[in-house]
Amino acid sequence: MGKNMDSNRFKAATGFFLVLIVAFIISVVACVVTHTTPQALINNLTSAEILFAIRLSLITATASTVLCMIIAIPAGYALSRYDFPGKSIANTVVNIPLALPPLVAGVGLLLFFGQTALGKGLTSIGLDFVFTPLGIVIAQFFINVPFAIRIMRSTFDSINPRYEHVAKTLGCNETNAFWKVTLPMSKNGLLASSAISWAKGMGEFGAVLMLAGATRMKTETLPLAVYLNMSSGDLELAIAAATILIIVSFSALYVLEKYGGDANIY
């Protein structure tokens, strides 16, 4: 009996902390979305500045997601299937952007594209990343590609290589076996990986701020719209941009829960 009461008390105590944090999160989100009236929100959402930010965010997040997947599919596959010298170093390096504060990553990107010979060379052929929308894409890509690689790697880990073996005995070469068997079988991982790259791209702030700057109506993505309008006291516009970011986050969370499966993100 005493033991039972003890365990009930413990249950209540841990539960209390859970309730506390759930209430806190809900309150914070609710503060943003309930700050204005629906009418004011719609007006602000259709303002030229917010429409620009929505459009720019959609384009850059989509472009950086495509870029992430182009790299993450082969890189994740190599990490999952092959043993090679330097594999564990490669694995660690690939994860560096995960641990780096995005602001610091942004400084690095700015120096890389602004100061090095390679960066200057790219600028001279028209690929200018500093303070341009192109920089937004690269900044989002740099921050998000480790997540994409991790998800793709664990997706490929979960697919028995014997499927490819069978495909090879049935007439496929390596490339064919990958395209016809492994990639279609990775559908959920691809979806989860793209969803998280896209949603994080939509919300990326620190690295974008450093590399692409915060120029109104030029490099103004949704997070930068929140930042710029908060700085200038236009709370209503800031909230309109923030509301969209909340919707994006919830959608991404839903896709991850549904298709993420056992893909191991962290």
């Binding site: 499927y163 073996h165 495909a167 005995t169």
Partner: protein
């Protein structure tokens, strides 16, 4: 047909340590070995999944050691089938033919041949996750067989199935072997399957083939202590079975008759475990039993038992405990009466 010479492959966990193996044209060859002997990697190396580090693989006089898996006339069915989960049964079966860009005419002809043979008509539009183990196995077989391979490799095709499905697959494998000109190389850890399926048997241990021969020969005359312990020294006699009221009367090839509780008719192999045989120095009179009279020709000591080889028209091995051996005071040349129950005789 298949000649393997001094084959080495090393995957760390498993390895092949100098495999020598010869499989004849149209043969059903079974490799028997315990878990970890390297059976699956042997098949995978023959299929070309893993490169050989040393040695040669020769198929129909053509060396295939270095050529990629897709160009070898070899197909493989894994123990866990490996049906492509994103494709339907029909798409799975067509997969290889489509990769090789056969004409639709050829594809549908070959597919329907094996769909009929393996009775897959009703499954064609289903996905593998909705199929039973036996159904998956049949689809995997069809997917390999439509490629018309010279050599079909089977990795434990039966052991993972429930008993009725096992019976069905064993019958179908025999039928496939009869109706196509494919040579089959199967690996298993089960003695019974090896005896039942194999024209010839090879025993594998730690990356080596340690003995090959006709199944009855390998089981009767194990080359080593390891083989004897692993396969158990079953008494196996070929004969002809006739059913009479639930009892099978087996006329042995070398004379004599034994009875068994079984429903198998025709050509059979009768297996009797040596420890199921009782011996006595005086005649045993008991109905429903098999009784024989014979002479001890050899006495050998095993781990915890004594094996007596007895000539009773057929040579039969009997295992007794060391205690009864000394109690009975047995010597070479002694006459003995043997008896074993009809239920102790296993017909395959």
């Amino acid at each position: 047909m298949l000649d393997i010479r001094n084959l080495y492959t090393d995957l760390g966990e498993f390895s092949l340590e100098g495999i020598d193996l010869h499989v004849n044209e149209d043969e059903y060859f079974v490799i028997l070995g315990p878990t970890g002997a390297g059976k699956t990697i042997l098949l995978e190396t023959i299929a070309g999944i893993y490169p050989a580090e040393q040695g040669k693989i020769i198929l129909r006089d053509k060396e295939i050691t270095e050529i990629p898996p897709k160009d070898r006339p070899v197909n493989m069915v894994y123990q866990d089938y490996m049906l492509f989960p994103h494709l339907t049964v029909e798409e799975n079966i067509r997969f290889g033919l489509e990769v090789e860009e056969f004409s639709e005419d050829v594809i549908s002809k070959r597919v329907s041949k094996f769909v009929d043979l393996l009775d897959l008509e009703n499954l064609l539009h289903r996905y593998s996750r909705t199929l039973s183990g036996g159904e998956r196995q049949r689809v995997a077989l069809a997917r390999s067989l439509v490629m018309d391979p010279d050599l079909l490799l089977l990795d434990e095709p039966i052991s993972a199935l429930d008993v009725p499905s096992q019976e069905r697959i064993m019958k179908e494998l025999k039928e496939i072997h009869r109706e196509t000109d494919v040579t089959i190389l199967q690996v298993t850890h089960s003695r019974e399957k090896a005896i039942r399926m194999g024209d010839r048997v090879g025993v594998m241990r730690e990356g080596k083939i340690v003995q090959t021969g006709d199944s009855s020969e390998v089981f009767k005359k194990p080359d080593s202590e390891f083989i004897a312990n692993f396969i158990g020294t079953d008494n196996i006699f070929e004969g002809n079975s006739k059913l009479d009221d639930g009892i099978a009367h087996v006329q042995l090839q070398n004379g004599g008759e034994i009875v068994s509780v079984s429903d198998k008719e025709g050509h059979v192999k009768a297996c009797i475990r040596p420890e199921e045989i009782m011996i006595s120095k005086t005649p045993i009179d008991s109905s429903g039993r098999n009784t024989m009279k014979g002479e001890i020709v050899n006495i050998s000591e095993r781990e915890s038992t004594i094996q007596l080889d007895i000539d009773a028209g057929i040579e039969i091995a009997v295992k007794i405990t060391k205690k009864s051996y000394s109690d009975m005071d047995l010597n070479k040349g002694d006459e003995l009466y043997l008896s074993f129950k009809a239920t102790a005789v296993h017909l395959i």
